[in-house]
């Protein structure tokens, strides 16, 4: 059901040290690490198995807000998710379309009532 989640942390280096240790017994390793050098940049770390990062930590600008990406079977489902989210009082955070994260990464984003960034993504080709 989940494609990936991104959790806000206050100190990325401290959290990376903790999660590296914590997740190792589960066979989950840190696959991607970006530590920002400038104050405006984002630091993040992606954990996963078999080359696919599904659990992210980030020291992001949207402090205190989660990001959750749900899997969608089709691009039509992504568009329906976005329309339904807006109709339900969510605010637009990016309409349905291809994103440069991966080939065929077709996603849409809605901000939920608490400010969390909720995504639907279809990775199947359109």
């Amino acid at each position: 059901m989940f494609d990936h989640i991104d959790c806000p942390v206050t100190d990325i280096r401290r959290s990376v040290a903790f999660y590296d240790t914590l997740l190792a017994p589960l066979g989950i390793a840190r696959l991607i690490t970006r530590i920002a050098s400038g104050a405006a940049s984002v630091s993040n770390a992606g954990y996963g198995r078999q080359g696919r990062a599904g659990f992210w930590l980030s020291d992001a600008s949207r402090k205190g807000h989660l990001h959750v990406g749900f899997s969608a079977a089709t691009r039509e489902a992504v568009a329906a998710f976005h329309a339904a989210g807006l109709a339900a009082g969510g605010s637009d955070n990016g309409g349905p379309g291809l994103r440069p994260y991966a080939p065929n990464y077709y996603a849409a984003y809605v901000i939920d009532p608490d400010g969390h960034n909720i995504e639907a993504v279809c990775r199947a080709g359109g």
Partner: protein, 130 residues
Amino acid sequence: MLDHMGFPVVDYDKSRAFYDKALAPLGVTVVMAVSAEETGGDAFAGYGSDGKPDFWLATGRPAGETMHFHVAFVAKDRATVDAFYATAMAAGGRDNGGPGIRPHYHPNYYAAFVFDPDGNNIEAVCHKPE
């Protein structure tokens, strides 16, 4: 990799209305809901597909306060849950419930819980009988 996750929200009814509608096109609906009367505390709604609740909303987040989330990872067996907990404790993690069966979830729900450095509640769970 992820078993389930959840977080408390400020306005439960508003968030329920939002997620009920937004997740329906993905085939994700409320598959388990527990009222405040039933728990004696917070109310919960678990969204999922195929009958398993994976994404949880709960009451109990005061407006303006820091949110603490909950994430649970899949462990392939009970020994892995034990190792997860022991490793976390050795690394200076804070205990939030040692390895063991949580029969109120289901008879084979074997889990352990630790707090991360920000106070988030991180779990490893094995659902298989042994």
